[in-house]
């Protein structure tokens, strides 16, 4: 398996030449924005205007921003909720699929739960915004059908319900890749473990918590971290669903960054918010790296 040894610089030139497109693209579209994110964050800068050096002002300002506390409160709530449901529900479904005796049925369910992934994310969010939570949406119409007319409301425009409504999007949280990952983890558990458990008289939930759960713990950890990283970055959903409204009730840091950049033209301030989020993600990514190898194995096993 030893790669060819090439000692002469002239022959190495070919290698560097072949790598050139990769590094050219990365230099322009990855490294430059990365560096600019930091440098811009020290300026007050509007497109078309003069950039003025303001030092750490943007970083000092953000914690005093009226949206700061509520944004991070929302982020914390949504992240915690998202982790909980995206760990529990797919694991439950994966365990159910795994319990089936027919191999064909197991494959069929895995496919069926993955089908919704073909619907563009934007469409899914718009479907939930209008068709599920809308004034004449599924939830309200069901409530009216049940005679609970006074409970019906604009779920995304009522400050009391907006966060829960956003958190519940995607219910029952059973579609997508998480099921495949857990399923792969479950199939990796040797049959002998299950048989031994059977002999010991373990069954049902007790067996699940004592045998299955500890053995898929690495998958759980991985998905927790990936879900958290996704949640910290994610504001696209909030942009489509609520734009942070009513008031700032559903604001998240990323969305405030977006508005500062593209609505208020405060590029420096927006970059500072981006850098703060990056630092949070960096810590999480370092944790994630610990599981990177397993991630690769899981990818292969998931199919």
């Amino acid at each position: 398996m030893g790669p060819s040894e090439r000692r002469h610089i002239s022959q190495n030139l070919g290698c560097y030449g072949l790598l050139a497109p990769t590094f050219l693209l990365l230099a322009v579209f990855s490294v430059v924005p990365f560096v600019w994110a930091f440098t811009t964050s020290f300026y007050r800068y509007e497109i078309g205007g003069e950039a003025a050096w303001v030092g750490l002002t943007n970083y000092v300002e953000y914690p005093q921003d009226p949206t700061f506390a509520i944004s991070f409160r929302n982020l914390l709530f949504l992240t915690a909720f998202s982790v909980l449901v995206h760990v529990v529900f797919p694991l439950a479904v994966a365990r159910l699929i795994f319990a089936l005796s027919s191999e064909r049925a197991r494959y069929a369910y895995r496919i069926v739960f993955l089908v919704p992934i073909v619907v563009p994310g934007v469409a899914v969010l718009m479907i939930w915004r209008g068709l599920v939570y809308g004034d004449n949406g599924i939830v309200n119409e069901l409530l009216r059908l049940a005679g609970l007319t006074e409970v019906a409301r604009g779920w995304l425009s009522d400050p009391d319900t907006v966060l829960w409504a956003v958190a519940c999007i995607g219910f029952p949280f059973a579609s997508g890749i998480n099921i495949l990952i857990y399923y792969a983890g479950l199939t990796a558990i040797p049959e002998s473990v299950h048989e031994a458990a059977q002999l010991d008289g373990a069954s049902g939930l007790g067996k699940f918590f004592r045998i299955d759960l500890p053995l898929v713990l690495s998958q759980v950890k991985l998905l927790v971290i990936l879900t958290i990283i996704g949640a910290v970055q994610g504001f696209q959903g909030m942009f489509i669903l609520t734009r942070g409204q009513p008031g700032f009730e559903s604001m998240v840091p990323g969305l405030w960054m977006y508005f500062n950049a593209f609505s208020f033209q405060r590029m420096g301030y927006a970059c500072a918010i981006g850098v703060i989020l990056f630092l949070i993600i960096l810590v999480l990514t370092v944790l994630n790296l610990k599981y990177f190898k397993s991630a690769e194995d899981v990818t292969a096993a998931a199919t």
């Binding site: 398996m1 790669p3 060819s4 040894e5 090439r6 190495n12 290698c15 072949l18 990769t22 693209l25 990365l26 322009v28 579209f29 990855s30 924005p33 990365f34 600019w36 994110a37 811009t40 497109i47 479904v93 319990a99 005796s101 027919s102 369910y109 739960f113 919704p116 992934i117 619907v119 563009p120 934007v122 718009m126 068709l131 004449n136 119409e141 029952p172 059973a174 579609s175 890749i177 990952i181 990283i229 910290v232 970055q233 696209q236 489509i240 960054m257 950049a261 590029m267 927006a270 970059c271 981006g274 989020l277 990056f278 993600i281 960096l282 990514t285 690769e296 899981v298 990818t299 998931a302």
Partner: protein, 327 residues
């Protein structure tokens, strides 16, 4: 074969399947209904579909006089100006009745296709170019990293990988400043170039792993036959890599198809809208007043990926799985 114990498990799983699919079932149903229908009863099946069945039954039983429809809204008048109840109901020949019902049934699809078609073409163009670019550049670089040692090869590979850790939320604003300065706003390149730049990283990682797994004897025998570097790559490596190429391509198509924010902020000219940004803008426009048009649009925009999923299930699964770890 079937164990009795499977039945409750099937039951529980089917509840999950039903709840997962429920919003989409409503979308399909409502894409075939008019606003008036939805206003009168939210939970109901498409009326024109029911009428089609009814009229066909009348025709088969020879009751042609029962095939009656309300006269259509006269030309040049808006639907809002006319009360449907004021229009007379009259007997219509079977063929014409069916044509009109079919027209009602598919109105949402025809309207939304008119809006979506250019977005679909743009998305397809960007998706295919991006996937092609990522596969080409990613496989070449992955091949070089996998099969050659040269000064700095390890460091360069680590440098590439470390760029994968840069989160999109950090670079969104500066990337916008960059493409604006480069004069790329409102073009296909503003999508393709950053997508290829970002997408190639994970592709290199996957390709390198795959190429390292190819047996060395394969390369040796080819070299003995006098194959050059390019011939080796083109005739030996690529034909063996169809699976991994499919995975990388599908992963990138999925990402490109779903990306909303970047095309939304960089391409404000409707000429360059893609499906995701186009759907959102459709939702804020007049077209959205017609519910069936939006519902039809959600479905139409899902069809290309659905076809890809059906056509290439296994690489699709692996692509989805790999994509999940890109973050």
């Amino acid at each position: 074969m079937k164990k009795r114990g499977d039945i409750p498990v099937h039951g529980a799983l089917l509840v999950f399947v039903f709840l997962t699919m429920l919003p989409f079932l409503f979308v399909i149903n409502n894409s075939l209904r008019t606003n008036t229908e939805m206003y009168h009863s939210f939970f109901g099946l498409p009326k024109s579909l029911g009428n089609m069945a009814r009229f066909t039954w009348y025709r088969l039983t020879g009751r042609h006089d029962a095939i009656r429809l309300r006269r259509p809204i006269p030309q040049g008048k808006a639907a809002a100006e006319v009360r449907a109840a004021d229009l007379p109901v009259e007997q219509v020949p079977y063929g014409r009745a069916m044509a009109r019902l079919w027209d009602d049934l598919t109105r949402g699809y025809r309207y939304s296709w008119e809006v979506l078609r250019p977005y679909m073409v743009n998305t397809l163009l960007v998706c295919l170019t991006t996937a092609g670019g990522v596969v080409l550049i990613g496989s070449i670089s992955g091949y070089v990293f996998a099969r050659y040692r040269f000064p700095g090869s390890k460091a360069l590979f680590v440098a590439v990988l470390s760029l994968m850790m840069i989160p999109g939320v950090l670079t969104l604003v500066p990337s916008f400043l960059l493409v604006k300065r480069l004069g790329l706003l409102n073009s296909y390149w503003v999508l393709i170039l950053p997508y290829v730049a970002g997408g190639q990283i994970f592709a290199i990682f996957l390709f390198k792993g795959f190429f390292e797994g190819l047996p060395e004897e394969l390369f040796e025998s080819a070299r003995l036959d006098g194959a050059g570097h390019f011939a080796l790559y083109w005739h030996i490596v690529l034909p063996l890599s169809k699976q991994i190429i499919a995975v990388v391509a599908i992963m990138n198509i999925l990402g490109t198809w779903n990306n909303f924010l970047w095309p939304f902020i960089t391409n404000t000219d409707p000429k360059y809208h893609v499906v995701s940004s186009g759907l959102y803008i459709m939702g804020t426009s007049q077209v959205a007043q017609n519910y069936s048009t939006m519902f039809a649009a959600y479905l139409l925009s899902s069809i290309p990926l659905l076809l890809l999923f059906i056509y290439a299930t296994r690489p699709f699964l692996r692509g989805v799985a790999s994509g999940a770890f890109k973050a």
